[in-house]
Amino acid sequence: MARSKYGFSIFVVFLVLIHLVLHVGMGIGESAPDLMTAAVLLAARRMRAATAALLGLLLGILEDSLALVSFGASAVAFSFIALLGARSRDLFEGDSMLFVAVYLFLGKALRDAIHVLLTPAETGMLLTATPVAALYVMVAGLIALGVYRAITGER
């Protein structure tokens, strides 16, 4: 159990690092998936609500440090979706691929909706860019989780 816990923590850190390398290190924009959101959402399913929200807060602040306006918007969005993600365990048991797909899609859409609410971004992007980005996070998250499960033998 402890081994699985550490393995999953390493997996989450790895997703965050890949996200930073792709987006900050290589400057790839929307062409690269939002692995930070995927990491927060996947981690939240295995954490206590307060710990998940704290992880969301920290990663949100990290993302906010590159924003010029609305500092803290990502922190709010990430901590909120992490909190909901952790609470979702009370309603939905298990981590089937179908559930994870829907969970990642809705999580990313909610994260973007909160972010748009708190920033001067165009609200129109919620109908155009957000569904595509959510789909991208869903696919990337599923692939990453599939790889993790294949390596660790976790079901």
Partner: protein, 287 residues
């Protein structure tokens, strides 16, 4: 819920409390990633499309040289007229680092900062014209917005100085469709498609005479008093790798018209008719 409340407090904090957190994270956790992109940019400059990069560098060098000779001429003429010497404009070259995060959309990092003389409000130029303006400054880094940013505004005029207005971004369905618009142009003046729009120097941020773009056509004629025109921007932000950052005087007191061969008429609200605007504070953060 306590953590979410903490995040909301962070969101509501005044800028002066947010800035140290932002600067601290950029200088520590994010530093390796930004340095990585800097190295990639430098390597790309050595390997990929050397001719294009060289052309861009040559154009930037030509701009600096032309500006230096103008400054020298200005200094001599002012000396002949026994006028007090004004601080000239100076530009420093910088590498552009694109941050691919959604939170940093329409912004870019520069590998120069406060130590190199960059300040909030410093204009960012390319050989083609105006790219953006510096928005926040760290010791050896700065973050700037390009013209697609919702907060971007620049006082502009037609190259012949007949019509003045404010240029602001117009967003399409996709980022590549973004254009600019000259708003508040006088109703009685018709600006033909193809006319160049340049910065007017009003507002004290951008020097006068930098090319902003060319007129595509009329956008709307609202309330019968003002017209808006769509503008094709002179610079597309996506492909820019190197820029010049203004570290000298800006606004009405600076005139870069000659660099882009703009025959702008004297500003009716010129430097002599209005009191000088207060200079932007180097430590000020406009966020």
């Amino acid at each position: 819920m306590g953590v979410v409340a903490l995040a909301l407090i962070l969101y509501a904090l005044p800028t002066e409390y947010q800035s140290p957190v932002r600067e601290g994270l950029r200088a520590t956790v994010l530093r390796p990633f930004l340095a990585f992109q800097e190295r990639i940019a430098q390597r790309r400059g050595r390997t990929v499309d050397v001719a294009a990069i060289r052309a861009q560098r040559d154009s930037l060098a030509a701009l600096v040289t032309a500006q230096a000779s103008l400054a020298e001429e200005n200094r001599r003429l002012r000396a002949l007229l026994a006028l007090q010497e004004r601080a000239g404009d100076a530009f420093i070259p910088a590498d552009v680092l694109h941050v691919g995060m959604a939170t940093a959309e329409s912004t870019f990092m520069l590998n120069v900062g406060r130590a190199e003389g960059v300040r909030v409000g410093s204009p960012v130029l390319t050989p083609e014209g105006l790219l953006g303006v510096v928005w926040s400054v760290d010791e050896h880094q700065a973050q700037a917005i390009d013209w697609t940013h919702p907060e971007f505004r620049v006082s502009a005029m037609t190259a012949d100085g007949l019509a003045y207005g404010i240029v602001e971004p117009r967003h399409g369905r996709y980022p590549e469709e973004a254009l600019l618009a000259l708003t508040g142009a006088p109703f009685h003046v018709d600006i033909a498609p193809g006319r160049r729009i340049v910065t007017s120097g009003r507002g004290g941020v951008f020097p006068r005479g930098i090319v902003v773009g060319t007129v595509l056509g009329i956008e709307e004629a609202d309330t019968g008093w003002r017209k808006s025109y769509l503008i094709r921007p002179a610079v597309r932000p996506e492909g820019v790798a190197q820029v010049l950052v203004g570290v000298g005087r800006s606004g009405r007191e600076a005139d870069l018209s000659a660099l882009w061969h703009v025959s702008a008429a004297p500003d009716p609200l010129g430097a002599d008719s209005l009191p000088p605007l207060p200079a932007l504070d180097a430590d000020e953060d406009t966020n």
